[in-house]
Each structure stands twice: as C-alpha cells, then as structure tokens.
C-alpha cells in the first residue's frame, strides 16, 4: 500500500514553548490517525501543520512521497479541514452556511433539507445559527462531510458537544469514507467506539 501522508522528524514551537519534537508517522489510504493528548499539548497545532496552515520548526511533511511545500495546490485539492472553530457564521442560517461551503467546494447538494434532516436538524434549517445549540452548530459544520469529494479529512475535535446517537452516525460515515480509500486525521478527548480497520494513535505529552 502506498503512503499518502507522512511526517518526518516534525517539531513545533509555539510562543517559545516546544510542543513536540521528532514526531514521525506514515498514513496510507483507508487509515485513521487518531491524536490524543491533554489541553495545550499541541493537538490543534499539529493539525494546523498537517493542513499546511503553518510551517514546522523542523522536519517535513510528505504528501505522496514529496514535500508539501512544493505541491500545496494539489494537496489542498484533496483536503477538507475543519478546525477548532466550526466555520459556521452565526448570523446565517444552516441552509445559507451549507450553500456557502458547497459553493466553495463546487459540489452542489442534491437535497439540503434531507441532508440536514438526517443530521437531526429538521425544522431548524431557516433560523440563524446563533439560535442553535453548540451541538446543533457542530452538526451544520459537519454536514460538509456528507457531500465532500475530498479524500483527506483533517478534523479537530469533531465529536465535541454531539450526542451519542450522532457520534455513532458520524463514525459510520467515517468507516464508509475509509472503505472508499479516504484518510482521516482527527483529535478527540473521548475514545473512538467504532471498530476501525487500520487505526494509528499518537499520544502527545504535555511539555513545559
């Protein structure tokens, strides 16, 4: 199996604090990278490095065997990144937010009402998102995963404030994505419950 995403001797410094040093991993199609660690251990910083938003202090990230820096366009074309913040504008409705993200990824959503309904948002499509709960806003944000054609998903705390039922739905969707040869990098405080075929876990220590 060919390796799609790899890190070589990665290290990251934020505000004069070394978050991690000499981090290595290799991910091939159909695999999950599950990053654990305490608050402030550098999980989000690692995801931002992998998404190409920041540059590592040392080491490099390889995409299909070549350094990320030389092929950021190709990489971004395969990337779906949902960071620590949901990317949902609270003044817009769920439908408007969905329309924004579908226009940006140039993927028309066949039936947005049906999609939002399947995520438990039936009847809430037309009210501004600031009136929704945190969990409901998170669902609007994650709705993107159901129409995206990107193969590499980088998700920061996707399960936060979701109820058990929706976590199960989401994990089922993850399994489908992996079965199609996709890759997922995610962080989470809670342990994963579904049975993933190829799971790699990294634990980041909190360092002073």
């Amino acid at each position: 199996m060919s390796i799609i995403l790899a890190a070589e001797a990665l290290s990251c410094v934020r505000q004069d604090r070394v978050l991690f040093e000499n981090l290595n991993f290799q991910l091939s199609a159909g695999q999950v990278l599950y990053i654990q660690g305490k608050n402030g251990a550098g999980k989000s910083s690692l995801l931002r490095l992998l998404a190409g938003l920041t540059l590592p202090e040392d080491g490099q990230i390889l995409f299909r065997g070549k350094p990320l820096s030389g092929q950021s366009e190709e990489f971004a074309g395969q990337l779906l990144f949902i960071g620590h913040h949901s990317g949902i504008h609270p003044q817009l409705t769920a439908l408007q937010n969905l329309a924004f993200w579908s226009a940006l990824s140039e993927q028309a959503v066949a039936d947005p009402y049906q999609l939002l309904g399947s995520l438990g948002l039936a009847g809430l499509e037309d009210i501004p998102c600031f009136m929704l709960s945190a969990g409901q806003q998170r669902r609007v944000s994650l709705a993107r995963l159901w129409f995206s054609t990107k193969s590499l998903w980088i998700l920061d705390e996707p399960f936060t404030s979701l109820d058990q039922q929706l976590i199960a739905t989401l994990e089922q969707h993850f399994l489908q994505h992996l079965a199609k040869g996709g890759l997922i990098v995610l962080t989470s405080h809670q342990s994963l419950s579904a049975d993933y075929p190829a799971l790699q876990a990294i634990e980041l220590e909190y360092r002073w």
């Binding site: 998404a51 190409g52 938003l53 920041t54 540059l55 950021s72 366009e73 971004a76 074309g77 990337l79 779906l80 990144f81 949902i82 960071g83 620590h84 913040h85 949901s86 990317g87 949902i88 504008h89 609270p90 003044q91 817009l92 408007q96 329309a99 924004f100 226009a103 940006l104 990824s105 140039e106 501004p128 980088i154």
Partner: protein
Amino acid sequence: MVMWRALVQRELQLLGRQKADWLNPLVFFLLVLSLFPLGIGPEPGMLKQIAPGLVWIAALLSVLLSAERLFKDDYRYGVIEQLVAGRQGLFSYVTAKICCHWLSTGVPLVLVSPLIAVLLGLDWQSWQVLVVTLLLGTPVLSLLSVLGAALTMAADKGGILQALIILPLYIPLLIFASGAMEAAATALPYTGQLAVLLAFLLFALALVPLAVRQALRMNVG
C-alpha cells in the same frame, strides 16, 4: 462564476442581517459633514471653498471605519482558516468581499451626494464632478480599507491601528479627488485629475486583491 455568485450572495445576506454595518458609516459621513459648518461657520462662500476637502475626508474616514469589522467574524468562527487551508475559494472570497463592501459603503455615498450638495451649497456642475470623483474614488477607498482590515485581522488592537496604516495610502486619492472638484469650481479643466483617479482605480484593482489574499494567509498562518 457560480462560486463567485454564491459568495456575493452570502455577503449580501450578511449585510441584510447586519444593517448597522452599512447604515452607521453613512450616518457617520453625514454627521461629520454637518460638524464642519458648526465649527467653521456657515458662510456659503467659505463652505463652497472647502467643500472638496471636507467631502473627501469625511468619505475616506467613513469607508475606513466601516471596513474595520469586515473579517473579524469570519476569522473568529474559523471560516478564514478553512478557506486558507482549502485554497481554491480564497481569491473569489476576497473579491466578493471587496465588491460587496463597495456596494454597501461607496454606492450609498454617491446616492446621498445630492444631499451633500444642498448642505454645502454646491452648484449643478460641482455636484456632477463630485459624483464622478466618488464613483472613481470610492472603489479605491474600499480596496485599501479591505486591505487594512485584512492586515489587522488577527491583531490584538483594531480600529486606530487600521487607520494608522491605511490613511497615508489614501493621500494621493485625496489630493486628486479634491483637486478635480476644486478645478471644476474655478471652471478649470479637470479631466486630467479624473484620468489619474481612473489610473489609481485600475492599479489598485490589479494589485490589492492579491495583497489582501496574502494578508489573510499570513493572519492565520
């Protein structure tokens, strides 16, 4: 193009939702203009003489202040971060923002210009020139203000900082826009000044969106 239309639509939806974003600058503009006669005196001759400078200083301040919060919400809720990571939509997003910012601040100034003409005692000819300079100049104001907002997006301090970095860049615009109006008021030819304003507009249109995109990338990087 489909993408761009959707992005413009989103900006217009936001402007519809947050009416203060474009109404307040307009009120601010009129308020500043009405302060001058109170501070300097209401003699029509004097007002007519200083009108070009007044109108343009009030316009650039109101456009500048209106841009301050332009990216703050999208930054805070992680929209910009995800746009930068995804890359392909970022430039369309920037141009949609600039376009809608001009529609919501520059165009209203043109629309209230008859009112300004009445307040400052401008004649028919001067009002026409005012409208032309506003049409050519306010897009440049919008472009530079959006650049200021993008540069200071993730800064701890906003407002005054944005004014501090962008106001010096407005100087050429101020000089030529008020120069055109002054020339018209004294019945001198003013097409040269208008041509320079047009040149500024084209120059800014070519370069500023790229600089804004770069500034957004740096602010989340």
